[in-house]
Symmetry: C2
């Protein structure tokens, strides 16, 4: 396979022959019969500088096409670079233009707005920012697998399409093969989904959690990492209709163990990023948000603060100067302003809140003995607020059924989920981490549409 | 975290104290005041045998509930086992019943049909077969990432929902939030998808290839590994409506390099499986298909045979005794019977066919100079036939446009895909591997519904 620029730039084997292939970022012609080419192959942020003398084979055939965006193959000699900011460059001995690029190429050297780049999402990975995002995204993805695999967690592919009635009805996408112009109708004149592909109305999943619990109660520790969907009409910089989520589920585990894993997980991932994507992270710190490096380094070095929701409310009530938009009282579903106050102002590090009021949390969370709270936890980080949400699951069959009924959920719809509490139930817990939120946090990118290759949002599923 | 049975079984630290948690597979009572419990925690195929004396703490409280399926926590002493087929067992010093299990538990010790187990897909990972499938699936998933990451390929999350007109119209699922009872209509009385969530009719993806090519032509070698969908009404043992696919895309690469990578990839994955899932693979060999171990070992040790489609046709024409259902002639889209003949009878090892007739292959495959064939390749293996399909991509803008027009595809719909050939095009190639087909092949499982946690097929998207 082609040698990568990443490796060439690390080499000190001056005088050796190298071959490189990549795309021209810029060209500068000298008046003395040679030119400087700057090329990039996506293996790293840094470009490789090439000195191309007009005497070498291929020069005259290529030079006309060597514009920004063109692809080239170059053979040459690795030499020490006299230029600032780079150790090596290549003195070409042969050049071959692979694919030309016309001057109307939309991705010229000047900086483009992220809005404009979204319109050419097929080309934007060629820019510095989106190349760096791609490498960070890749490294984090693999680090997630490494983290769980090294701890014996099994990766489970939970389903994307589901006709299970467990999922909340609102904000879901329907998946269908019915003729929408003329769908089959039942005797009441309603659309007859029994003729649909899956024999029943079906949706895109909003979470793999309930499904992955089946494997947790069979195989022990497991995790999902896959796409999830929300048909929420939110045109914000923090929402996507399609995003990737990581959801571990831990067997024989209570909320304390859940918090331990979440903290270890987050610190591990950010540590890997600082170590293995140093150049890309420096780029984000220089160009996007000059606090990201300090924030990440601080988190990696911190023990997260843990306090109960009730204690957090007391802290917030003390915060006279905060001027919250949403007044604080026990029972409030904390807003980003409250979460950020706690993590940014009060504790100045990540905070894990636990034991939330049961009325603001999901039915499957384990009820505490106070009968007012559930064993839920949220991990809060600066600038974002909640980045991880989790809970110990209600593993007591009767308590779970009673809670469903209180919430007007039909236990029959959950027959298989309840079976897990009927047959060898065990305490278990888990959490969810939205992958794009994590990348947004780690890189400082303002808009979540810029941390996923092809964002899906209201009115846009292009490419 | 809880120690796993996998590790306990490997320990030789006899006399040491151990703690284990798991689910009861069976119990055998002796008449002399003790019982044998066999427990499993999903970490491996093997169970752990526990000797529980009636004198130990917890015995009397637990014994009534210690039925198949119950969850338990046991502390005890690791002792050498006198029994055949196991080296260690645990002499319990304390037992605690965590979750009981009633006698009507559907997963009793007897063997159940796979059809029955599909109906309790939420419990089947507790069976030996599906526990083994889960571990094999997990190991292969991670091995796929390890393979590509160690070779510098970047993992790209291509979109699941798309309104791009590039994808073939047939056999796709529509994704919508329109009110299907009463959808908005345009002035012609047709459903007005401009009011749909994405502002346009949208579908579930059938392949990430076209999308991932955008990143290949920016970042070099990349791959996808995600869910893909076919709304094909095929009720067979080889089709799923939702399945996972791996699609690498290699920059600066021709069909030869593509074949090299596919061969290396397949041999690597099967080698990892033989090495790291030895007990599970032995189980499949003993219980499911007694040829799988020999087949996999043979493939790992073989150089794949490579021959052109045209040469393959010649071989098939010589096969007088084969009695093919579909008569052989040049231009035929090879059927499983032909593929299997070549790999099972003629070459007795995996075969890679290349240079297929252009008329039976996709528009994006690179046309060869003979104007009759394209640079496509299929990897064929015994029992399955095609397991990998790939091609060098047509990287010449004008040739690609001409081919689209021949096939009545509208180049405007492919504007962004064509841009990749306009701006710094490079030779590139890739392939697709259906993950479930691979698991089916590796384990010998007859029905593809039994190698994915929750299969989605016509009339069924339960759980």
């Amino acid at each position: 396979m082609t040698p990568r620029i990443k490796d060439i730039l690390l080499s000190t084997d001056f005088g050796s022959e190298v071959m490189t292939r990549g795309w021209v970022r810029s060209r500068r012609d000298s008046k003395s019969g040679f030119c400087f080419l700057v090329i990039n192959d996506g293996s790293c942020l840094a470009d490789l500088q090439i000195i191309v003398d007009e005497s070498i084979p291929g020069y005259h055939e290529s030079i006309g096409g060597l514009l920004t965006g063109a692809s080239v193959e170059i053979r040459g000699e690795l030499v020490e670079s006299p230029a600032k900011g780079q150790n090596v460059e290549v003195k070409a001995t042969e050049i071959h233009l692979i694919g030309s690029c016309p001057p109307e190429y939309p991705l010229q050297k000047k900086r483009h707005s992220f809005e404009f780049l979204r319109e050419i999402a097929h080309l934007r990975p060629r820019s510095n920012t989106f190349g760096a995002i791609s490498r960070v995204r890749n490294r984090l993805s693999f680090a997630i697998h490494e983290f769980f695999q090294s701890r014996g967690f099994l990766y489970v592919h939970t389903p994307i399409v589901t006709s299970s009635d467990c999922e909340g009805a609102g904000e879901m996408f329907t998946v269908t093969t019915l003729d929408m112009e003329n769908p089959p109708k039942d005797s009441n004149g309603k659309v007859d989904f029994s003729h649909d592909f899956f024999g029943k109305r079906s949706h895109l999943t909003v979470s793999g959690q309930l499904n992955v619990e089946t494997h947790c109660l069979a195989l022990g520790n497991v995790y999902t990492f896959g796409p999830t969907f929300r048909a929420e009409n939110s045109n914000t910089s923090r929402h996507l209709a399609e995003f990737w989520m990581i959801e571990p589920e831990i067997a024989f585990c209570d909320l304390g163990g859940d918090m331990d894993l979440a903290e270890e997980f987050l610190r591990h991932l950010l540590g890997v990023l600082l170590e293995d994507c140093a150049a890309d992270m420096k780029f984000f710190n220089d160009r996007i948000d000059n606090t990201v490096l300090a924030t990440l380094e601080h988190i990696v070095a911190s023990n997260f603060e843990r306090l109960s929701y009730t204690e957090a409310i007391d802290e917030l009530l003390k915060a006279k100067s905060a001027n919250f938009e949403y007044p604080v009282k026990w029972g409030l579903d904390l807003q980003s302003e409250h979460e950020r106050w706690l993590t940014e102002k009060v504790f100045k590090k990540p905070v894990i809140l636990y034991d939330y009021p049961r009325d603001i949390k999901a039915f499957y969370m384990r009820q505490n003995e106070d009968e007012k709270t559930v064993a839920a936890m949220d991990v809060l980080v600066p600038k974002i607020g909640e980045i991880i949400g989790g809970s110990q699951r209600e593993d007591r069959h009767d308590v779970l059924v009673a809670r469903m009924k209180e919430l007007d959920l039909n236990p029959d719809d959950y027959w298989w989920y309840l079976d897990l509490r009927r047959y060898g139930s065990v305490p278990h817990a888990g959490f969810g981490l939205g992958f794009e939120r994590l990348i947004q946090f780690a890189t400082g990118m303002q808009n979540i549409r810029d941390v996923i290759p092809f964002p899906r949002v209201p009115n846009n599923a292009s490419f």
